[in-house]
Subunit: 383 residues, 2 copies
Amino acid sequence: MSLSVPPPGCLQKPLVVPHRHMFGPGPSNVPPRILEAGAKPVIGHMHPETFQIMSDIKSGIQYMFQTRNKVTFAVSGTGHTAMECAIFNAVEPGDCVLTAVNGIWGERATEIAERIGARVNTIVAPPGGYFTNEDIEKVLMISFQPHCYATTGVMARCLLIYACRYNSLFLVDAVASIGGAPLYMDQQEIDILYTGSQKVLNAPPGTAPISFSERACQKVFNRKTKPLSFFLDLSWLANYWGCDDKPSRIYHHTGPVTAYYSLRESLTVLSEEGLENSWKRHQDVAEYFHQGLESMGLKLFVKEKSTRLPTVTTIVAPHGYDWKEITAYIMKTHNLEISGGLGPSVGLVLRVGLMGGNSSKANVDMVLAAMRDALKHCHKSKV
Amino acid sequence: MSLSVPPPGCLQKPLVVPHRHMFGPGPSNVPPRILEAGAKPVIGHMHPETFQIMSDIKSGIQYMFQTRNKVTFAVSGTGHTAMECAIFNAVEPGDCVLTAVNGIWGERATEIAERIGARVNTIVAPPGGYFTNEDIEKVLMISFQPHCYATTGVMARCLLIYACRYNSLFLVDAVASIGGAPLYMDQQEIDILYTGSQKVLNAPPGTAPISFSERACQKVFNRKTKPLSFFLDLSWLANYWGCDDKPSRIYHHTGPVTAYYSLRESLTVLSEEGLENSWKRHQDVAEYFHQGLESMGLKLFVKEKSTRLPTVTTIVAPHGYDWKEITAYIMKTHNLEISGGLGPSVGLVLRVGLMGGNSSKANVDMVLAAMRDALKHCHKSKV
């Protein structure tokens, strides 16, 4: 046999990556200290130094999530993988699941649970809507209630479900909010909570912090069937992360060690600032931004102030404009990413994320200037 | 509510990562140019520059795998995730699967297929053993035949299965060998092939090249049931990677963009050297290493020369010694990782990986000196 596919010419060009203002719903900009951490040399996934880094990450996530859960770690994947990890472990075929859907992530959670054979009920709110405790307090085995939807920018209200009362587990998707908005996993009796590295944490995408309460572990570790994914099997993952009481760790998969470095650094940045300071900064900056938008004559998609996310702002797509032209113009002219809607909110909104280090009044001014410029130069129909 | 978990003290210490010779079965050392590529700024997972980088990666993998398969891309995860991606997509509940097991990866493939409800038959060879075409050519729907087992260091012989004859798909796990040993996906009629970024490619762990033949796609895209994992669903992944004929790409998950940068760079390094040069270098270095080991009185675990892997060498655990003391001594004294066995080969072997840039005679000399030193200083029983 001989080679039939030659070396590709495209790889002869050097890798060039532009600097860009990442003000969409994620990934957000990664500060140099976090990028540099991720460029440190690779060591083994089972070396004691790596276990120490994983232990530091665990402590950092416990702080970020405000939890003392032993089973707290980072999934080797994105927020999406963490969602599958949560559902694959918590739900067995035939289990009842309630999903609260007000955007694409609720839809995906529904599909993930259906694929593994759960009996799924959904309650649906329109994009921009939310659910109250009363909406949720119905018969359920697992309630999947995202803390927030980046797709619509709504803070979930029902953060106190007393799921135990119904012998159900309470899952919260806090991918786009945690670290930038108050959330107390233990006090709010959340059973499974997860996020991604690339939002408020400002680390590259590729790791996803997750935590399981005692109650969640009770259910998961007493399943009748094995979780369908070996890769996401909590028994293995908990051991690999040193979260169980076993004397030694067994090889499960090769952890993305350099991604651990940058995740650890991002958690350090957050704990240096302090959670409450970070929450306040995001809130102040968001209010400043929202005022600026309204004074330009733009409308916020989420009417109730208290339900607006401080991390991702949804703006009603300006009347008479093609939203795609606006985002493209701003990217081209200002080297700045803002985005349209996702799933049910496509065409309805523009989304601007100012997360982690990106959340500053200077960045707000930059976005507002770019939007003013876009509204001046993009086509407006005469309707 | 108020904070109940304080910022962790451990994060106040700066991140320190040692430089280390990574001569175990992976991850291998990552050269500075690949680490630097991974530290470039984060841009969006749906930006045109990222799509171009993904397209370059696709071309690089097609070269590495020697395939023209359209559905060629990198899974956002480790080799293990790629294994699940292969099996989750190719196998439906009730399908017959034959796994050829001569080490931990065959065992895992068996378990993964069983978890999703396949009817699995296994043929088992002892660690260090292998299978012939005749062993395999039996009734089967899917044959899972790893190209190699890093756990035992054996090149699979049965690389020409004519799986089509049996209307079955031929899966090959080439995680620890491809790029360092000859493999021609198309000419060898392999239907699904995958590897990890952290072996011969010398990129950080976290991405896993994979390719599906036309026949495999026919099966996958005409399934009766949806794959159990949304995250690993080939229809979505193929679209996200621009491998289908759809006019636009739909958001699926947030790709680990910085890991794409380093993966692209690692594929560039391989195509600059050329596959055949890389294969020859690995073979020459392995033979030099094997001679050195034998001249020290050590025995190679795999008896037949032609079935030895040129990337990972398995050495019979030296008689009278505790293998753990040897690997620990070498780590402590020489800052160099070699490892013991895994799964069925634990206690039987030592494993030394010299992969990608690590495969050089200078590194062989370093390992041999370290082993000589260890055999002199570690405890030997008087048996």
